[in-house]
């Protein structure tokens, strides 16, 4: 029963977060110095013309009514039309760019999790030895060096000096996508990789000191099996939570990498929209990434009791 209560409380918090972010994005549109009416009327329109257009578009109604309308439309995937160009529906823009961002983020989190757990375990097993110290130093660098410093440096090295990898994403790609995505994915993965390494190490160090490990040593369980099957399985749970939140951060944090490598994803789209004051696109980008972030965190919280019997039992 306690578990059901905890889950429903968590779900309620998720719903409130969703309302919060949708309200904030909606209000951003309200507070901007321009709206759909001023854009459609153009620069030369008189105040009356703008008023008339605003009335025709229904923008002069009370904001609470329009917020509910906005929510209903957004739930159906209707985010309005882009202000400029061909006035393309924002839904199409999102549908075009989101898969790219999601692919890059998914590849990056997979890489980060694999390398992070491996290095973290290695460092914990060889605690205070050379391996441990080098892993810790590397991960400190990974956390502190920003993406936009790392990106040009690596591009310079692998492209200009070695000529191995392309600098940017291209429309006419001559090789497989993998070749073009290698650098951006590696750079995006650097920070979560470092964080996951540190977390795995800390958790493993903690677990290796526990009594069941001593029991395993006494029983004569081989070292590798002891470290992996006994210790890592127990130590990896906080890491799973962190993988979930890191993935959310990657989905929203690919702006720099997408910009640096000209990858046509959601992040590039949002930045372009910002330099043009294209409010519907900005709102949709923020809302979509925000909702994904909240949903991922919810998912992780729901998965934990499934993965860890201790949590399940503590709450029943």
């Amino acid at each position: 029963m306690a578990l059901a209560k905890a889950i429903s409380l968590r779900a309620l918090f998720g719903v409130i977060s969703l309302i919060f972010i949708s309200l904030v994005t909606f209000l951003a549109g309200e507070m901007a110095p321009y709206d759909a009416a001023t854009i459609e009327a153009g620069d030369k329109a008189s105040v009356e013309q703008v008023q008339r257009i605003r009335h025709n578009l229904g923008l002069d109604r009370n904001w609470t009514i329009r917020y509910v309308e906005y929510l209903g439309k957004a739930a159906k995937g209707d985010f309005g039309n882009s202000y400029y160009g061909t006035k393309e529906p924002v839904r199409d823009i999102i549908a075009r760019t989101l898969p790219m961002t999601a692919t890059v983020a998914l590849l990056a989190i997979t890489l980060a999790a694999a390398v992070g757990i491996f290095l973290g375990t290695l460092a914990a097993v060889y605690q205070a030895k050379f391996v441990d110290r080098s892993v810790l130093t590397l991960s400190t660098l990974g956390v502190t060096i920003p993406n936009f410093v790392l990106a040009p440096l690596l591009v310079f090295f692998f492209n200009s000096k070695l000529g191995w990898l392309p600098t940017t994403w291209e429309v006419d790609r001559t090789a497989s996508d993998f070749y073009y995505l290698l650098l951006p994915v590696a750079i995006l993965a650097a920070r979560p990789m470092a964080l996951l390494t540190r977390l795995t190490r800390a958790s493993m160090v903690d677990t290796l000191q526990q009594e069941f490990i001593r029991t395993a040593i006494a029983k004569g369980v081989p070292k590798f099996k002891r470290n992996i099957k006994h210790a890592l399985r127990n130590a990896v749970l906080p890491v799973v939570t962190a993988i979930g939140t890191s993935f959310g951060v990657l989905l929203t944090g690919s702006f720099v990498v997408e910009r640096a490598f000209l990858i046509p994803g959601l992040g590039s789209q949002a930045i372009d929209a910002m330099t043009q004051n294209n409010m519907p696109v900005i709102q949709a980008c923020v809302l979509v990434t925000g909702v994904m972030f909240i949903a991922l965190n919810l998912l992780v919280d729901f998965m934990l009791p499934i993965l860890d019997p201790r949590i399940r039992e503590a709450q029943i």
Partner: protein, 285 residues
């Protein structure tokens, strides 16, 4: 004995970081003026006099332009100093705002009646529910681009962590003997907070502030790198890196200076923050 050695080793980093930050501060305050005076007469265009001493574009480092000139022929040392000014200013102002709001909210969450405290803490928790960059983007979308929107955007997302920290510390502090004793003498809550609780927290808050300023400077550079932060002709390390990046194939050396100064600043702030934390919060090691 071993503990003492470790402590001294950490202190070296603390002093190194502190030394770098003081040098950076002097560079930011006096750099632009000094460089302007030194480069007098080299530039026919003194419109953006402080930062933009125009020479020829892409000059290699020489006696006059120590680090060379950028794509518009501006002295890179002056640009770096101007960037330092922007970064430090944004970092300090945002931290000041975030401390003010964070301490107030954190204290209210402990001392205010429940109907104020609970919603306040829920709201603070809610601020963690989605990433800072999204909030920053919305604020900049409303306010336009420039230094002020960046400050507002970063302040909005900076205070909740301070509020949480203050709350968690004060919850235990308020039951300590010296606070209870002061309370028993009839001291009003405001006096308790100002005279007894805040001084206890100041060391920890100072340490955390260093780490947070590092984060703020990184965020400002990120926004400027993306072209939605500090706008030209104002200098910023982020936009310098972005400009150098676009010309990387022919002028790769131009990346080094801004990347290096930004990374070193972040490292120095982290060293100082960690050093201070080790001194003020021995349990947190």
């Amino acid at each position: 004995m071993a503990g003492g050695v470790v402590k001294r080793k950490r202190d070296i980093f603390l002093w190194l970081g502190l030394g770098f930050l003081i040098a950076l501060l002097l560079f930011a305050v006096f750099g632009p003026a000094v460089r302007t005076a030194m480069l007098k007469g080299t530039s026919p265009d003194l419109k953006n006099a402080v930062i933009d001493q125009a020479g020829k574009p892409h000059l290699s480092p020489n006696a006059q332009f120590w680090l060379g000139t950028d794509e518009q022929g501006r002295d890179i040392v002056s640009r770096l100093a101007g960037g330092a000014r922007v970064s430090l200013m944004v970092g300090l102002i945002v931290q000041l705002i975030s401390l003010l709001v964070g301490i107030t909210v954190g204290m209210l969450a402990v001392f205010a009646p429940k109907w104020v405290a609970n919603p306040l803490m829920r709201f603070t928790d809610g601020m963690f529910a989605f990433p800072d960059i999204l909030l920053a983007i919305l604020v900049i979308a409303i306010m336009g681009q420039g230094v002020l929107p960046v400050v507002v955007a970063l302040s909005v997302s900076a205070w909740p962590s301070i509020a949480r920290l203050v709350r968690s510390q004060v919850v235990t502090l308020k039951d300590r003997e010296f606070v209870v004793a002061a309370k028993a003498t009839g001291a009003p809550t405001v006096y308790l907070v100002m005279k007894h609780i805040l001084p206890q927290l100041s060391g920890l808050l100072m340490a955390v502030s260093m780490l947070e300023i590092a984060g703020t400077i990184l965020s400002e550079s990120t926004l400027s790198f993306l072209g939605i932060g500090v706008q030209a002709p104002n200098p910023s390390w982020g936009s310098m890196i972005n400009n150098a990046r676009t010309e990387m194939t022919s002028y790769a050396e131009w990346l080094i200076a801004p990347c290096l100064i930004l990374s070193m600043t972040v490292f120095a702030l982290n060293f100082v923050g960690d050093g201070l934390r080790n001194r003020f919060d021995p349990k947190g090691q």
